[in-house]
């Protein structure tokens, strides 16, 4: 790659991730003129980040996940290639304090917060206690080793419903809701199994669950001395505790509440002497109370909605902060404009309980234009397997108002052509059309509670027949019986966007 200018941040940055976020980090490195190294497991050899990074190194292991979690292997690559900083993306090693420490001990910068803060916030109990002693509200909860005597009784005393999760967990993994004692017992079994397997830590955390609460989170940026916020994101549209649609700003907050919740996030981050980009997640009740949920010490999947409304490149800010530059942004210098929405495009069947789907990307054509952003690591011919999270891509739109953003998103989803796999693209449009979503009147229970009104509409006969005629006329196995059209496959060229 031709260097347009000599950056003064890093000599070379390794991207310790895959998929859309690896490509997103690469874009920031390119924007800053920083040489890049991609690492990849064999199955990702053809992915865009591997083709586009300045250097790419294959990593090996029992599985792709194992390879991406192999600290020693990544460290050896950093040393061999003269890498002086690593961006971990989200997931994998992004919230692994040991990784951050190992890099630091070898003179390599971890692009993220300090290991101590990762540990503090990475544990549900220590982070909750930290926030509680600062005087910010936290929901009632207990945490114990799952085998501890009296655990079930103590948990049941908090009052149902309860949310059960691995103490060390995050991102909705190993998390379930218990509405009575029987469900609690089953939920504890699953949580304990996941807790031990994924996190090597048998402690399980049980917390009061608020049925009609919203999930609202605040983006912060800190350099160790100063902390600013970049407003909130509304992330209440969830299935399986994982976000599906996010937006900024939240339609639920008054200006006064917004100031209050953002001030709480800044207070928490400041007390932690937070460095880099981070997110403070809150539960927000219909009564206007908010409770600290957790702090994510990494860039988040849904960061683009914040970038769109503030016109800020959060990953570039992370790079500058990691290079020890003081925050150039101030709370006064940033301003949000308009409304942004993000839809997570997932390989799943919304009409079969959101079960993950597998397949192959046969055709991909995504919308472009002003106010539209499509973040993905997809490529045609890619096999979609169960090895990773079902999220395939993120479609983001920005418009002057929420109503216009919803319209723009529906149009963009209709223009998105992703063939070869069952996705939630059509389902997302049902949510966006739903009167309660349009009114901004929803909480984290929306998808479950509105299951009836989110059913697929029976297709119009004219559309159904058009699809069948299109299928029949395009079908390669029937086409040999006809000579209706000039041989289209004679002119096959690689399809390009």
């Amino acid at each position: 790659m031709t260097k347009l200018f000599q950056n003064n941040l890093f000599h070379k940055v390794l991207i310790a991730n895959r998929g859309e976020i690896a490509l997103r980090v690469l874009r920031a490195l390119q924007a800053q003129g920083i040489p890049s190294v991609a690492v990849y497991y064999a199955s990702d050899r053809q992915s865009p980040v591997v083709c586009q990074a300045d250097e790419a190194v294959e990593i090996t292991g029992a599985s792709a996940s194992a390879a991406h979690l192999d600290i020693e292997q990544l460290l050896a690559i950093c040393k061999r290639l003269g890498v002086d900083a690593v961006h971990p993306g989200y997931g994998f090693l992004s919230e692994n304090a040991e990784f951050a420490r190992t890099l630091s001990a070898n003179g390599i910068r971890f692009i993220g917060p300090t290991p101590d803060v990762i540990e503090l916030m990475g544990d549900k109990i220590t982070s909750r206690n930290f926030v509680e002693q600062l005087g910010f509200p936290v929901p009632p909860s207990i945490s114990m080793d799952v085998d501890a005597p009296g655990f079930i009784d103590a948990a049941a005393r908090l009052g149902f419903p309860l949310v059960v999760k691995a103490s060390a967990g995050g991102g909705g993994k190993g998390m379930s809701i218990a509405r009575d004692r029987t469900q609690l017992e089953s939920a504890l079994r699953v949580a304990a199994s996941e807790a031990e397997k994924y996190f090597g830590d048998k402690r399980v955390y049980v917390e009061r669950y608020f049925d009609s609460a919203r999930h609202i989170e605040v983006q912060v940026l800190g350099d160790g001395d100063n902390v600013i916020h970049l407003g909130e994101r509304e992330c209440s549209i969830q299935r399986r505790f994982q976000k599906v649609i996010e937006e900024a700003p939240s339609p639920a907050l008054s200006e006064e509440k917004r100031r209050e919740i953002c001030a709480a996030a800044v207070g928490i981050a400041k007390a932690a002497k937070y460095v880099s980009a981070g997110t403070v997640e809150f539960l927000y009740t219909p009564q206007g109370e908010f409770f600290f949920l957790e702090m994510n010490t990494r860039i988040q999947v849904e960061h683009p909605v914040t970038e769109m409304v503030y016109g800020v490149d959060l990953v570039s800010e992370q790079l500058r902060i990691a290079a020890k530059q003081p925050l150039a942004l101030t709370q006064q210098s940033i301003q949000k404009i308009g409304h942004a929405l993000e839809c997570r495009i997932c390989a799943e069947d919304p009409d079969n309980d959101f079960m993950p789907e597998t397949g192959r990307v046969l055709l991909l054509k995504f919308p472009t234009g002003d106010g539209i952003r499509f973040d993905s690591g997809l490529y045609e011919g890619q096999d979609i397997t169960t090895s990773f999270d079902p999220m395939l891509a993120k479609l983001v739109v920005h418009a002057p108002t929420r109503t216009l953003a919803i319209e723009a998103m529906i149009k963009a989803l209709q223009q998105l052509v992703l063939l070869g796999i069952t996705t939630n693209i059509e389902y997302l449009q049902r949510v966006l059309h739903h009167p309660l979503f349009v009114a901004g009147d929803f909480d984290t229970g929306f998808i479950k509670q509105q299951a009836e009104t989110l059913q697929p509409a029976t297709p119009a006969t004219t559309d159904l027949h058009a699809a069948l005629i299109a299928g029949y006329l395009a079908d390669r196995s029937t086409r040999i019986y006809r000579d209706v059209t000039p041989a289209p496959y004679a002119a096959i060229g690689r399809w390009r966007n």
């Binding site: 993994k173 190993g174 089953s186 699953v190 199994s193 996941e194 397997k197 399986r240 079969n352 079960m355 993950p356 597998t358 397949g359 192959r360 046969l362 055709l363 054509k365 169960t386 990773f388 999270d389 079902p390 989803l413 209709q414 223009q415 052509v417 992703l418 063939l419 070869g420 069952t422 996705t423 059509e426 297709p459 006969t461 004219t462 559309d463 159904l464 027949h465 058009a466 699809a467 069948l468 005629i469 299109a470 299928g471 029949y472 006329l473 395009a474 079908d475 390669r476 196995s477 019986y481 006809r482 209706v484 059209t485 000039p486 289209p488 496959y489 002119a491 096959i492 060229g493 399809w495």
Partner: protein, 169 residues
């Protein structure tokens, strides 16, 4: 040969009647006049009864993936000689995989008595764990998987000899 296509489990008949510049084609007994113009290997313009639409298509063996007017469709060309019904016969007495994945833990044992709803297995797919429960009461006759083994969607995981009294309930 009578072409048949399945959409969301429903089979439709598509019968070509005549072709000149247009194709006269019958779908589930309704005649339509269609014309198709390819733009490239994956894109064509389709006119049905005078209404033009842009269609994107990709094919994987007998599966056709279409995108028409902002909406995706999946069609399965029906093979007359295939027998997809055979598996469905004993569905009640078999615990089938709801999705492809890996077995985390096997709770059940061969010969064990189970009630409907009892936990048989803990499985994992795309990092999500879920429990597979008995679909009927009876005695476990076969466990087709063990911890760590992977499976495809609709694979038989556990078979149960259903109690005669409640079988087929």
């Amino acid at each position: 040969m009578q072409p048949k296509y399945q959409i969301a489990g429903t089979t439709h008949l598509v019968t070509p009647l005549r072709q000149d510049a247009d194709v006269l084609i019958e779908v589930d007994g309704h005649a339509h006049r269609a014309r198709l113009h390819w733009r490239d290997a994956h894109e064509f313009e389709l006119s049905v009864d005078g209404i033009a639409r842009t269609v994107y298509v990709a094919q994987d063996d007998n599966r056709l993936f279409l995108h028409l007017d902002g909406r995706a469709w999946q069609l399965r060309a029906i093979d007359e000689f295939g027998d997809s019904a055979a598996n469905a016969a004993n569905a009640d007495t078999m615990a089938l995989a709801p999705m492809p994945g890996v077995v985390v833990e096997v709770y059940a044992a061969i010969g064990q008595r189970v009630e409907r709803g009892d936990n048989l297995l803990l499985i994992e797919s795309m990092k999500l764990q879920s429990e597979i429960r008995a679909t009927c009461a009876g005695v476990i006759s076969r466990i087709a998987v063990s911890a760590g083994s992977s499976f495809e969607r609709n694979a038989v995981l556990v078979e149960i000899d259903a109690d005669p009294a409640v079988a087929g309930e």
